[in-house]
Each structure stands twice: as C-alpha cells, then as structure tokens.
Symmetry: C2
Subunit: 221 residues, 2 copies
C-alpha cells in the first residue's frame, strides 16, 4: 500500500496533475484490476465452453473454476449470452487486426493472404477459438446475432477481397472469391474441432501446412 502511494506521488510530480485522479492512483489500479479480473472471467468461460459446450456449462461451473460464486461472475458480465459474445469478440479481434493491418500493406495479395491465414489459425487454436466458431445464431438473442454476423461478414469480405486482388495482381490464380473464401474459412474454423495444444503441433505449423495446401493444391505439378 505504501509503495503504491509513493508511485502515485512520483508520477504526479513529473507531470501537471490530470483533471481526474492521477494515473497510478489506487483507484486507477483498481480499475485495472477490475479489467484483469473481467478478462479472467471471460477467458475461463471460454475454456469451459470449449470443454463442455455452451449449454452444458452453467455459470456455477464457471464461477467454481474461478474459485468464486455466481453473483461475482454477474458482477463482471450482464448475462451468459454476453459472456459468450465477449469470448467471441476476444478471438475475433485478433483476426480483424490481421485483416486491417494487411489492408494497408502493398505486398502481393498472396503474401497478405498467407499472413491473415496464419493469424486466423492462431486465433482459432486459442482458448477463444471454439467460441468464435460455435457462437452460432441459435444461442444468442437476435441483436447479438446480428452483431456477430456483421463481424464475421467483415472477415469474409476481407478474405474475398484478398482473393480478388490476387487475381488482379497475378499473385493468385483467378477463381470464385466467394467459394474460395468459404473453403478457406471452413478449413481454418474446423481447427477448433480437432486442435489440442499438446505440444506436438502448434498453431503456426498448422497454418503453414494449410497455406501450402491451399497454394499448391492437390494435383501433381
């Protein structure tokens, strides 16, 4: 406690006082704590959902896994549905970042696509992967469902754009972007169904194999 207030004063003396309570003040530490705890709740939920399925995981289960009781969980999220949504979003963010980052790059579409695929694989293999794939419409209210559809659609559009551009810049064979995007998304999403983090094979290995497979195809060359 003493050290905390010391840091607080030091930070405050280096810069003019901000309007609110200073950064590194105990209250700031508390909100950071809160965020960390919230993240833990979401991550734990993701793991439980993945292990037992959404409907077979009760909030009591999640609370128990956190060594806590149900109302505590409700202190961090509004309801079960939002919990799933947050898991979904956590995983999605990683993919979206890759898609956006790559949108600015000037590299050939082929390389940009490979990068997105790699990140995609990592996201799907993460704790949140299952939620991203399984957060299907039927588990969520129409409002949430719309949100998720919109977000998923952005990824889909990103993939299609890359495939299209690859056709234009000559780095990829011309083909139906819609079908190709579906095939790629399917292959990668499916990773969530079989991948286990047992050390033999990590997500980037899988990504590399898949990238090669989609690049070269199965026909002999």
């Amino acid at each position: 406690m003493a050290s905390r207030s010391a840091r607080s004063r030091k930070a405050a003396s280096a810069l003019p006082d901000p309007p609110g309570p200073s950064l590194w003040s105990p209250v700031h530490l508390r909100v950071r704590d809160r965020e960390r705890k919230r993240d833990a709740v979401i991550r734990t939920a993701a793991r439980e959902f993945r292990a037992r399925g959404y409907h077979n995981t009760s909030l009591d289960d999640i609370a128990t896994a956190l060594n806590v009781t149900k109302p505590t969980v409700y202190h961090y999220v509004q309801n079960k549905e939002q919990l799933l949504f947050e898991c979904f979003r956590a995983g999605l963010r990683q993919i979206m970042e890759a898609v956006e980052q790559v949108a600015e790059s000037k590299a050939p579409a082929r390389e940009r696509l490979a990068l997105v695929m790699s990140r995609y694989a990592q996201a799907i293999a993460s704790d949140f992967g299952w939620c991203m794939v399984q957060a299907e419409n039927q588990d969520l209210s129409p409002a949430m469902s719309r949100k998720i559809k919109a977000l998923k659609s952005e990824i889909d559009q990103g993939l299609r754009r890359l495939i299209q551009q690859g056709g234009s810049d000559g780095s990829l064979r011309r083909c139906d972007p819609k079908m190709a995007a579906f095939a790629i998304a399917g292959a990668f999403n499916w990773i969530a169904h079989w991948y286990r983090d047992d050390g033999k094979l990590d997500a980037t290995d899988v990504a590399d194999k898949f990238v090669e497979l989609f690049a070269l195809g199965l026909d002999p060359r």
Copy 2:
C-alpha cells in the same frame, strides 16, 4: 383395406409361405408404416435442430412440428440424445457409402477422392448436415460420443487413405495426408453453416467448385 389383403394373398400364392406372417401382410405394412413414421420423426428433428440448435429445440417443439405430442415422439426414440444420434447417423451413412464404394474401385485416387467429396457435400447440405457437424461430444453421453467419434474417424481414415494412395499412384501431389484430410473435412463440414437450399446454388455445384479449388490450389499455374 380390401386391396391390401388382395395383394397379400397374391404375393403369398406366388411363393411358398414364409415361416412367419407373409410379406405384405397388414402387419408387415404396419412395420413399414412405423419405419416411415420414425424416419419422419428423425427428419423433422434434424430440421428443427438445424433451425434452432439442439439445446434450443425441445421435444415439444419437434412433436408440434409433427402435429403430435411428446409421448408419441418417445414412442419412436428412446430419448433426445438418441434422436440427435439418429440424425447424425442418417447423414453419415451417405458419406460412408461413398467411401466404401470407392474403396473397391480401381480408378486413380484423384477421381475417387473427387467422388467422395461430391457425396460429402450433398450429405452436409442435406437436412442432416447440421447434425453431423454439430453432434459434438458435449451433447452426448460418453457412450454415444465414442460411437460418433469412431464413425467420424472412419471417414477421416478413408480420406487420408485416398490422399496417400494419390501420392503413390501419381494422381495427386504428395503431401501430409492428415493435414490435407483435416482441411478438406473442414471446408466441407463448414458448408452446413452457410448453405441454404434456395435454388441459386445446389450442393453438387459447391462440390465441383471445391474439388477444383483443392485440385488446382490458389497459386497461378
């Protein structure tokens, strides 16, 4: 009723009487009826599961869709879990038939694989597709789960074998059969998530596109 017994006698006169009640006897018609009704129960369940998800579909929902009450449904299946399992099995059968049929063929592995893929796509796009993909472990008792895993594994092994043979007979590029099988299964399974039978695109079209994509890959040739 009169016509039924007439047919029964006719059939019975053409051949020596079988030990039990003759084929086409009313009792036989009844068991056929029973099977048809049972199939209807399973098919309806598959549609409802696909539309609303397994856990969001109550047996009352299914009964209502059949214009019937819950105990009637229980007259044809033991419980909800078995209902899902039957849906799974109905879809799976189509794929397994293709895999087995192709195992005897002497055609190059490339062609045999294409045939399996096509059947696979049709099965996944059918009413049962959703159940095949979603009948995940978490919804089923350990015993059922094992059964399903075993059946799925047969398909997986079938795919791997074809890919392997393609490497040997020169009809396919040599590659990691496990990864390739996962990628193919994923791409096709994912069809259940986006395919809608709206006439624009039928399952064989999708299959053709996917077969081409996996054959040629994305790189320019």
